[in-house]
Amino acid sequence: MAARDIHGPAPPWGDEFQVIGKPHRKIDGLAKATGHAIYADDIQLAGMLHAKTLRSPHAHALIRSIDTSQAEALPGVHAAITGKDMPVRYGVIPWTPDENALAVDKVRFIGDEVAAVAAIDEDTANAALELIEVDYEPLHAYLDPVEALERSDPLIHDTKKQTNVSKHVHLDFGEVDAGLEAADVVVEDDYSFHGSTHAPIEPHCAVAQFGADGLLTLWSSTQITHYVHRALSSVLEYPAQKIRVVQPCLGGAFGGKSDPFSLEFCVAKLAMKTGRPVKMLWTREEVFYAHRGRHPMRLHYKTGARRDGRITAIDARILIDGGSYSSFGLVTTYYAGQLLTGPYDFPAYRFDSTRVFTNKPPCGPKRGHGSVQPRFAFEVQLDEVAEKIGMDPIEIRRKNFQGSNTETVNGQRVTSNGFDQCLDKVETASDWKTRRGKLPYGQGLGVAGSMYISGTNYPVYPNKMPQAGIQLKVDRSGLVTVFTGGNDIGQGSNSVVAYLVAEELGLAVEHVRVVAADTDLCPVDLGAYSSRVTFMVGNAAIDAARKLRAQVVEAVAAAWEVAPQRVRLIGGHAIDLEDADRGIELREAFHLAEEKFDTLGSTGSYNTPTLGGDYRGGTIGASPAYSFTAHVVEAHVDTETGRITARKVWCAHDCGRALNPMLVAGQIEGSVYMGIAEALLEEHDVNRFGLHAGPSLLDYRMPLSIDTPEIEAFVVESIDPEGPYGAKEAGEGPLHSSIPALANAIHDAVGIRLRELPFTPGKVLRALREKQAPAGTESRAAERV
């Protein structure tokens, strides 16, 4: 491990923070609140054209021919493009390049991109789309993942093994069969998790400009600038040195803007073709087709435990409905198994997970990528184990707590771990001991726990370069500018970087400016995914700032003719720790440093240490630090209507040191909201023709302010030895256990086990009737519903 990576959880000058740990405002808050922040769709360039996309009306079809001549002849149309203009395939995971910017020979879901037009305005572009003639030859469409698993004619993709399997992973740790045999209790069941989508309020948007000098600039609502840069170069067959990718202010992503998308390639190609700037803003309907949301999964779990509550073995079999393209699916298939091995310790674990292609909008990474679904199944099963052995559900989780500084059954290193404290917090806050199992019929409490990664040591393309880089530039006015490739997608990562640099240099936060996510200006960062930004970019920021600080301190010490240990940078000043009368403004200290060292500037980096189990796939899910979460949900079940209400959610999240507790609480609350939303209301699905069931914000039922439960967020700070000042992730972990905690609360309320999401009134009523029906009559009762 390089020394550059680890700085320890405390600043070297003592453990008192000036900026860190305080509820500072976000550095871009004022611009956002006044409407001055510039998002991709706010960019207007002289002569800008507007582009629209023609999409497939078939779920699965060959394209015999496309004729764009009439569209191109329409007055106001500047260019039309098809798959032939960009035949190179891409995929965010380099091993599975199965996407085209526009379909080349076949379409794979209703909404797949077929052609694009640039015109003087959107209306003209839309009119032109109507004039494009596409001759399709429809193929059998797969809408059921089981059928896709069993049948291989026709193939959705021309896979090596000539099946519709996108990825299969089978991993086996310890003696699973022996463990299950040795168990006093074994619970085995099927679970089902449905699809849901991110639905950021900002639809995807991209603007491209092509200069006479050959420079192609793309502004895009992406959460991974660096991968878009690489993919553009490859697909456009144009040198990366001549491409600049910029992420303007971004209006929400949640994983839904992690892939390179068709519109980015299309505006770039159209700008190159027409010589005019081109913008494409997707409609809300198109955002639903683009999807990349939560994978529907069918999960079979078998858990064995001893009478004392200790888990002896877990055996899982998972079928993942991937939709029409690979996207991050290789990783999803691993994550579905790899991320279950905490916060509990168990000696044996096996998972077999298979992702299949279907002719539906492609699934991808949604907040809690790949691990929310297995977590639901397992935590519900664990609750059942506790019930069978007569143990309190919180107690069984304590009993199996893996502790800190340990290794998981699949060989992952766990450092800090505050899960036990998370359990304590939610137990006390919910008054668990006096209320659980004792509330009136129809009301109940449920608990669940989870863990998540703070980034992973698996960069999507193999390389040994840093995962995060930072550059600092010092102005003679006393302003420090931070250049980071990190993507602020609303979570506040630019603010976090500013806090860290301000802390290290003793500056006021407003004297730190952040320039981010611009491939021309900023060092490479791998982007906002896998909850990696605070941990990795944060460490790089500390690295860079500490180098600069050393120079400033040395210059001041030399000028004062004192030892550097006496100089402290704090509160906008350099002060002499042994002479209260001596101090200068930081601006002057920077001048001294520039006189001594010439132009100031520093770089910082972060790369993970070597991590992961010694087996194929052992690095996937290996993280330098894991976050931990416990939820207690209070549910109300209306037994007349079957309607479930989450009345209150207590969520305790171990994020290491909370660099800004207000932002951490915001992440926890947003995660809980999103988890409860997909458990009760949201469903992303297609009808029997493969057509999206309701691609609008009316049909896709996102909770309003009146639907969202009261959420109480607790921050647990198990200071991590390798995080930036001890920080870990907070943006995705707190979603996971909200869903099983709700399911377990429903069981406490009315005694039914819901194993199939979402928890709609129909399912609740059916389960209630089955429970009340005498043995042997369950199926009849079910049919009547």
């Binding site: 976000k26 609140a33 950021p200 209006g251 609008s696």
Partner: protein
């Protein structure tokens, strides 16, 4: 094309546009007031909320011909400072795309409360802001922001 004259943030504007052109587009494209955001274009998300003569509306559903002679207030307008301040202090904005709409809607709500002599409380705030979708915050800090603005007297 026809001429439309109305007031935007206290300034009299004349716009030549198709009468059915959305107010949202007139504001964003013709008047370069891009603070008003488009989230869905079908009146579901509230990101494009502006005030017309003090009433909060979704500007994506309003044709420009309907604002003839009216007073339009957007997030760039005056009188929103105490609400904006509250959203900053309480962490009510994360990605910020719904924030302009929420701020305008909060202003309209506080004005209504004042006009009708109602005391703003949490239940009222949740109802008042139910037409504005936020995907980041889980609404807790949004409601806290609205209530903080109310506690400040909701002064303009």
């Amino acid at each position: 094309m026809s001429e439309h004259e109305f007031e935007v943030n206290g300034v009299r504007r004349t716009v030549s546009a198709d009468p059915l052109r959305r107010l949202l587009d007139v504001l964003r494209e013709d008047l370069a007031l891009t603070g008003t955001k488009e989230g869905c274009g079908e009146g579901e998300c509230g990101a494009c909320t502006v005030m017309i003569d003090g009433e909060a509306v979704n500007s994506c559903l309003v044709p420009v011909c309907q604002v003839q002679g009216a007073r339009v207030t957007t997030v760039e307008g005056a009188g929103l400072e105490s609400v904006q301040e509250a959203f900053l202090e309480e962490g009510g904005a994360q990605c910020g795309i719904c924030t302009p709409g929420l701020i305008v809607m909060t202003r309209a709500w506080l004005d209504t409360c004042e006009r009708e002599g109602r005391v703003p409380d949490e239940a009222e705030a949740r109802r008042a802001l139910a037409g504005n979708l936020c995907r980041c915050t889980g609404y807790g800090k949004v409601i806290a922001s609205a209530l903080a603005a109310a506690a400040e007297g909701g002064e303009r």
